[in-house]
Amino acid sequence: MSNIRTTGKKSSNTLVRDLVNVGIFAALYVVLAGIAASVGFIPAFIIVSTFMVSLVTSVPLFLFFSKVERPLLCCTLLCGFFGVLMVFTGHGISISAIGIVLGIVSGLCLKVFHKSFMGCFLANVTISFLPSSMMIPLWSSTEEYLAYCSSVCDAAYIAHLNELSSSYWPLIGLFVFGALGAVIGGFIARRMMKKHFERIGLVR
């Protein structure tokens, strides 16, 4: 044990590092989620697109969780930025509120479990609900969402969306596939962290 005494207060330098990490990983999350979600342009894969998003973003999120020292603040900011960006792209104001709530919950998971695998795993599963939540307006305000989509998609795609909105099972499927992607992605991320990042000393 070292004899260094600390005041218990975290340095403002680490706060700056955390904030920079939030900016960088938020940019990466947005880009990766956008690329993975483009699978959803194929009508048959709309439900599975959340699985792809969670799977692809698991590794960066695990690295992000292990690098930040203030999980509550950082997770809230990351999810909040994603939510606000989605508002800018026409996805209703509710997604930003959902983003902040999910960010707080995932931050609490990390705070309670102290950045252990279980903490990262639960936080990852929580954040995986964020891309799934983007489709909620299809069920909560079907008319407006289909009117918005009809200006950007072809008739066959709109018909498929209309068919999906008739039952709540696809909505449950979206969340289940998202969580499943986060679970599988979590195990892949743990393997990659051990194989690559811990070996070169990026994370402890």
Partner: protein, 236 residues
């Protein structure tokens, strides 16, 4: 023509709102305003190229949308949608990002009493997108030299390998950039807990008032509040 960062923020908000939620005429109104601002900045070549591509996509968009040709049709419509509906938003962002210095943006956010804990990651995020694409492209070239492509035999037999070959080097690179950036930020004395001084002078001028009024007028037009309707309602 120099605009205040807060005016640019309002322009971005209104333009994105119009592009994604309002009918096409309103988005064209916002794109025209941004194009005029870009011409004042001397970027008339960019404006000409944009309108050429935009009008071309506009001609084909409705024609292709009405065709029912399955998945390929959806992909073509999605590509045209990117040009037709998202590109105007990108033009506004291009104007804001190329003409706003980080210093001025931070000063503007500080004047609006936005905490530094929100401003710092926001600036890093906005400025980091080009770096991210550059890094990803360089890693892609390096992997192609080793014969690792998206549709090569190696990646088709093991799809997760592409995640490992492309994502892990990108993450290592980004983590190093993040460390260097945070050291640079600390060295320059940027702290979330202290108030920052700024050498750049920002404030509302005549051009800001014109853009501000224009944005508010477009929003009022969308909400159905026109001078004529106000006169008619007040009249006998």
């Amino acid at each position: 023509m120099k605009l205040d960062p807060r005016t640019k923020l309002l322009l971005t908000l209104v333009a994105n709102g119009m592009i994604f939620t309002a009918p096409l005429a309103y988005s064209i109104l916002m794109v025209l305003a941004t194009s005029i601002l870009l011409i004042f900045e001397g970027k008339w070549r960019f404006v000409c190229a944009f309108f050429f591509v935009y009008l071309g996509a506009g001609v084909f968009f409705d024609a292709v949308k009405s065709l029912d040709i399955g998945t390929s049709g959806t992909i073509i419509v999605a590509s045209l949608f990117l040009i037709y509906r998202i590109m105007p938003g990108c033009v506004v962002l291009y104007y804001v990002m190329t003409t706003t210095k980080v210093n001025e943006f931070m000063a503007g956010m500080s004047r609006m009493h936005v905490p530094n804990k929100v401003t710092i990651p926001l600036i890093v995020m906005i400025r980091f997108f080009p770096t991210l694409f550059d890094e990803a492209r360089d890693i892609g070239h390096a992997m192609q030299m080793r014969g690792i492509r998206l549709f090569s035999l190696r990646t088709l037999t093991n799809p997760f390998s592409i995640l490992e070959y492309r994502l892990v080097p990108l993450l290592v690179s980004l983590t190093k950039i993040a460390d260097e950036l945070s050291i640079a930020v600390v060295t320059r004395g940027l702290s979330p807990e202290t108030r920052r001084t700024c050498i750049a002078t920002i404030g509302f001028r005549v051009q800001d008032v014109i853009v501000f009024v224009y944005c508010l007028a477009v929003v009022a037009l969308l909400c159905g509040i026109t001078p004529f309707s106000v006169i008619l309602e007040d009249g006998p």
